[in-house]
Amino acid sequence: DQQVKQNSPSLSVQEGRISILNCDYTNSMFDYFLWYKKYPAEGPTFLISISSIKDKNEDGRFTVFLNKSAKHLSLHIVPSQPGDSAVYFCAANYHSGNTPLVFGKGTRLSVIA
């Protein structure tokens, strides 16, 4: 049973436009969410996170939005650049817990020049 779902395996976006990557979760106890970015032949790298006490967190071109009632979060990349082409993983956990992160299956983003 997948607790973190990324329903779009892939997404293509034109350079300069907005990329929106979506993530849904089923466990209402999750209260901390992270996005990781992965290039081929490399390990995932941390991108941005959000706690459930917020509904938005921004870091440069990257913004994560959290809708707790819908159990949904999204990552916005504006403007998209060719170097953003990668696989993006959504992950979730309990902020106060010591249990491991639960990852989604990932979405492959292709930014076309």
Binding site: A41, G43, F89, G97, P100, G104
Partner: protein, 113 residues
Amino acid sequence: NAGVTQTPKFRILKIGQSMTLQCTQDMNHNYMYWYRQDPGMGLKLIYYSVGAGITDKGEVPNGYNVSRSTTEDFPLRLELAAPSQTSVYFCASGRTGGNSPLHFGNGTRLTVT
């Protein structure tokens, strides 16, 4: 800064052979994890450790063993390799539990034939 180092990068095993995937981190992190990534399947947790001498099973532990004798090292052992263990293996470490970003190694690509 070396971060998380995994060796080897690639390995081909015959069915029934054994091997150890090495992982070491130089960030003095207490938490360490082993994940496997199958195509289109995201990251699945194999084993994790919250400190030296303590290990726990993840989602897919069968066919693997781990040990954590030091803070730095967290080797993953495959005793009787099977084709189902063909995957890319990632080791990760973190300062605390799930509410701090994980640092990943660059992975070991294992093929069992």
